[in-house]
Symmetry: C2
Subunit: 762 residues, 2 copies
């Protein structure tokens, strides 16, 4: 168009150029648009018929301008200063002025009329021609640290800061550099070496009594487990199997004779061992284990035996290669009577590593992850062990060969034994927490740097500035902070427990373990996707973090099974093992508790969308509490209805199983929020407190949004309220994003552990 002789004759025609360029540059012209433009052109009585027909040709789809021509049009238009680009008419007018033409107001007006019809956004016109002038909020967002990282780290690390620093220093040693190999044997060997280094530092025995080389510091043990989880999770599990499962089963289920004989060597890793509970046929339902330990009074021994192949011990860590002994869980048989599951120390290998007679061990082979741990299957063929090898804290065979236990019920005794091992349900969620922290650090640092897309012609935008990316990652960051404080609380409760609190603490662990491990699985999945192809490369470590921790939702208790335990515990006033005997009494009690609920459901509150109300921690907590109580009550009523109708209680619990899982979730979510709120209140540093407050609000709003179906269904909120909650949730994600990188820096994960090229700072 711009080279055409007709423009030489009448340079005014150039007033149409910006409009025509915009029409051609991106879109296919629709018939309606063409018609609108035809009408415009035909209305221009100041033009000759020839000129009008020329202009009409310019918007004929069969005579589209070439790519090169369009580029020349743009160059021509850009000769005008961008300040004129408030409408195509103004821009065209300025262009005409450059060519010495002064256009009438009428012409400009008719062009402007057409712009409205075409649905042009006037404040966007400038971007079509001068993309470099575009400034958007999305581009402008960036990391803006609002608090001191060291201050936050000290809030998180608390009194264990020194120990944490020591572990991190060790993990940063070149000796702990990750192996780049898929060879199982190399990985397993390396992990064993690492575990020995840890033992040499006294980390393995730290929870044991001083007389056996320890420091009697269980809290330190959990801190080490968590901190190690910034490194290879195979090491964490190897460490946990040796010093936790094996060592603590001897410590908690055994008596002084066992402690004296074994604990010191366990703590130094001179005596590697296993925790042989799970069998092929019995994983979750360990009460049903089939391995037998038959007492022989004549020679004062037990015979350990695997009755059939599906009763073999399976997935046993340390079994395939290194374990020399095992705590074996087996049904104790005396004189043909079954005294339930008890624990026994059974030698597996001699000191040279040779498997002992009548014991068969098979390697579990390659796994989805944790390939540095040598899991194996163990079978016993009438293996004889001395009587002293029974771990006899809770049950003994006396000198007459009679069974004795202070706890008469086999079930209660077994669950009491398991209760002493609840530490595993604290160690695993804390390990999951550290794993999530690593994943989020990688994904958030990458998202802050990685740019993709942007306004047309302008520079690209960090992907963490996109709202969907924020909605994927920021609530998970809030989760991690929330869980940090909740797991600290669980640990403190466990460390400072008395016997009456045990069942409450067990339920707490049974709830936090599923929440933390599922949250971890979800977090690493989002991190993988948030890092795109880079997240798929093993070098960036999300692969290992994700696959190694995937089993956390299964081991130390399947998450779904655990949440039902929580629910059953919630259903009993006395927090005891739920039994059939008094189901109805319990349900009656719980149903009676429902009285006050409805008071909160006043029409004003359920529609209240004031910002002050929606961001109020008291509102959050009371909403969580309402849900916790109401869902428990409705589950109890439902169970009672079924039982009253004559349904078998096993069936009734099955019909309500999904509901019970929700009871478990509602409980643990309330505990987490409550502990997070309390922790934030106690923070001294104001800047830290402020950002933690935001995270706490984000945690609460995210769960209110997630559970909005339930709240709406039960009349606790109306749609107007849940919609505004979502708005605040998005806004908080936007705000937290600015502090997201520093919030992950505060985890102080050693760069050597992080190791991902997309995230590491040199």
């Amino acid at each position: 168009m711009i080279q055409h002789p007709i423009l030489k004759q009448n340079p005014s025609l150039i007033i149409f150029l910006p409009l025509f360029y915009a029409v051609w540059s991106d879109d296919v012209l629709t018939p309606t648009e063409i018609k609108t433009l035809h009408t415009l052109i035909n209305k221009q009585r100041w033009l000759s018929p020839e000129e009008r027909s020329f202009l009409i040709n310019q918007i004929d789809p069969s005579l589209a301008p070439s790519a090169e021509e369009l580029k020349n049009w743009l160059a021509e238009i850009r000769r005008v200063d961008s300040s004129h680009a408030t409408s195509f008419a103004n821009l065209g007018n300025a262009l005409a002025a450059l060519h010495g033409q002064i256009m009438s107001a009428e012409v400009k007006q008719s062009l402007e009329g057409v712009e409205e019809m075409l649905g042009v956004i006037s404040h966007e016109i400038v971007h079509t021609f001068y993309p470099e002038k575009r400034k958007t909020l999305t581009q402008a967002q960036s990391t803006q640290q609002s608090f001191n990282t060291e201050a936050m780290a000290s809030v998180l690390e608390g009194k264990h800061a020194n120990l944490i620093a020591k572990v991190k220093t060790l993990l940063s040693d070149p000796e702990f550099a990750y192996l780049d190999t898929d060879s199982l044997s190399l990985q397993r060997e390396k992990v064993l070496q690492w575990a020995k280094h840890l033992a040499n530092q006294g980390f393995g025995s730290i929870a044991y009594p001083k007389e056996y080389g320890g420091q009697n510091d269980m809290a330190a043990y959990f801190t080490i487990m968590e901190t190690l989880s910034y490194h290879d999770l195979s090491l964490v599990v190897k460490f946990g199997v040796q010093f936790g499962l094996w060592g603590m089963s001897v410590y908690f289920l055994g008596t002084e004779k066992h402690h004296k004989k074994y604990l010191k060597d366990i703590g130094t890793l001179a005596l590697p061992g296993c925790f042989a509970m799970t069998e092929t046929n019995h994983g979750s339902n360990v009460r049903g284990l089939e391995t037998t330990a038959t007492y022989n009074h004549q020679d004062k021994t037990f015979t350990i035996h695997t009755p059939h192949v599906l009763a073999q011990k399976e997935y046993i860590g340390n079994a395939a290669l290194h374990g020399q002994m095992a705590t074996v869980f087996a049904k104790l048989m005396i004189d043909g009577k079954d005294y339930g599951v008890n624990a026994f120390i059974v030698p597996l290998r001699d000191a040279s590593g040779k498997i002992l007679p009548d014991i068969s061990i098979e390697d579990c082979g390659r796994k989805m992850g944790l390939n540095g741990v040598d899991n194996g299957k163990i079978s016993f063929n009438q293996v004889i062990i001395p009587k002293d090898n029974m771990l006899d804290r809770f049950a003994q065979v006396d000198d007459l060969g009679k069974f004795f236990s202070p706890i008469a019920s086999d079930n209660r005794r077994f669950f009491t034994m398991l209760g002493t091992l609840v530490g595993g349900r604290i160690g695993i969620p804390r390990s999951a927490l550290a794993t999530s922290k690593s994943g989020l650090t990688i994904a958030i640092r990458y998202g802050d740097q990685r740019r993709q897309f942007g306004p047309e012609g302008a520079s690209e935008v960090p992907i963490l500035n996109y709202r969907t990316h924020q909605r994927r990652l920021m609530p998970l960051l809030a989760n991690v902070y929330a869980l940090h404080f909740a797991l600290q609380y669980l640990t403190d409760r466990f460390i400072n427990r008395n016997e009456e609190e045990m069942q409450e603490i067990e339920a707490l662990a049974a709830g936090l373990k599923p929440f933390a491990t599922w949250s971890n699985t979800q977090t690493l999945q989002e991190c993988r996707e948030a890092c795109g192809g880079k997240g798929y490369l093993s070098e960036n470590r999300i692969d290992a973090l994700k696959n190694d921790s995937d089993i956390y939702t299964t081991f130390e208790g399947d998450n779904t099974v655990l949440l039902q335990l929580v629910a059953k515990s919630r259903l009993t006033e006395f927090k005891q093992e739920f039994s059939n005997m008094n189901v109805l009494r319990i349900l009656n009690y719980v149903a009676d508790q429902a009285k006050t609920s409805l008071a909160e459901l006043n029409p004003f509150t359920i529609r209240n969308t004031d910002e002050e109300h929606l961001l109020d921690p008291a509102f959050h907590l009371s909403a969580f509490k309402f849900r916790e109580r109401d869902i428990l009550t409705s589950a109890a009523k439902r169970l009672k209805r079924h039982l009253d109708s004559g349904m078998d209680s096993f069936d009734a619990f099955n019909v309500c199983q999904h509901h019970l899982v929700e009871v478990g979730f509602a409980h643990v979510e309330r505990v987490i929020l409550e502990q997070f709120q309390l922790a934030v209140q106690n923070v001294k540093d104001e800047n830290c407190q402020q950002v933690l407050n935001k995270l706490c609000t984000l945690f609460a709003l995210n769960l209110l949004d997630k559970n909005k179906g339930w709240y709406l269904e039960n009349g606790y909120m109306e749609g107007v309220k849940t919609k505004v909650i979502r708005k605040h949730l998005n806004q908080l994600c936007w705000e937290v994003r600015q502090d997201a990188v520093p919030l992950t820096d505060a985890f102080k994960i050693p760069e050597a552990c992080l190791a991902a090229p997309i995230a590491v700072r040199k």
Copy 2:
């Protein structure tokens, strides 16, 4: 108690034995319970003070019976016939009768009174003493096939049954046995061999024209991709890279000269090649690629160049080892002007596999999965290629060295080119579908066999009988069937397309790909967890299925980005590439469409909980359509509000990004339901139709439940309705479970491909 001399004197005391046994057998006695029992005993005026004090001792926690004693009590009670176990009093009465005692009605009544106070469920008493008599619905459930597997298989396979059978036969050949190795080089070599076997069968070239060795059958190509996905996904991706990405880029972007020269050798795998689009800095935003192809008119060549390290090609399949050529996407520069991204054939290696000069290739190394594919990075250092190597279907450089294209806009031309490659977005979701089918077959077969827990003392229950297990897996099974028909529909639309439909089909693929791949990721995660520890062992293949397919949510377009494309397409009346130019016109239009919505929201319908209504396919579809329309309208209104307020359109789209993703979901969910319903209507076999109807209802109710927050928020349903929907959803899961194993059998996945020891039938 039973050996005590006092019982010899007064055998009537034994009437208390069942009650005392129940009290001790499981629970800790609470103070309230003890008090209740004391009152009961003290009321028994027929007993001597000595006898009463003896009985009171029996419930003294400090004098608890031993485990052995309890066992003896039970044996004693079981001498009575179980028919008496309707209350502890009746059972005790019958026991007393065995001892020759006849008790008064008064005594029985006082015992029964206490049972009520203790909250005993009378129909459960029998289980405490005779657990073997217990029969529950949960135990009784089992696989009950309601249809013919072959008939269902033929519904699924349709006209491609023969081809599918042929591929399956090949995959079952011992030559295709899985490798048990982590050696990258062995895996890659094996996968290449497998791909050659497929090429030898003519599978590679099947979509190409007959003159180049093909059968011109694109539908067959997709069927092969899907069927191969029952085997190793590395093979699927290798196959897709060679015959799909590499071959079809030559086919669809090139012209006859390229077809003649390359297609035949590509189809036989004589010429392995790559599809080099993605760069380190540009993955999703491929329009921003930085590799340049500079035209040199003097010698009629292009110079391909990587300007900086972050502009190198990355993740390129076939690059690290086997590719001899690549379709390289690069910005075409002529005389210093940028003509946007175009495609060029660039030789990488000579026939012996030696990398050519000025080309650097780096191995991407180990990945989370797909380790049988040799992904690499490619850099070009001023590599010169002849002019003929430009794939010139959509743009050419003419004899004068001028750029020519029928599509003037660089953007439009690029998206048109990409449009021809939409096949990848069909192949990937179909591969994901087959992967989900494998995972579900393994998890469902295992769940049907694996037993864990059960009523106290009774046999254990298949875990698939548990409601939570059903709620985890059955909706995913319904998803897979739904997606099967929806992807068939997408394929048919693609095969039978005309140019005007292309943008609709692209949007359909852009929506189904995220839905299918996210559904697959979720499915395999659930399958892993549903198989517990067994699911974690590599031998059971969920490891490989999950890790190999994890990247499906990223490649062929990041899912979140694709769903926004769908939304933008939905926002345009004319289904064109969304441009800034006419945003407002489009939004005005969409906002106008909202008229009829509210008519559906009448107070009767939103509370209608009739079974007939809730299970009615017409209700489901109209609910899905309502959501699709309403969410689109509200997104449009929201965007318009922001633009009207002067917000930059880039910011406005960012603020609404999460909303737009929901627009994409709502659309694709409606399409899937609609196609599933249509497909079920057309099924001839009545039994198949019946079970498919259940799956279709399950699919619909599951999504209505998942989206209930939205429906409640927007007043389409009330809480009473969403609650009853959940009830039906649970009930359907229970019903579908019975057919679950046969429903996976109907996929007819070769046992050799399935391979998981926990699932394979010998």
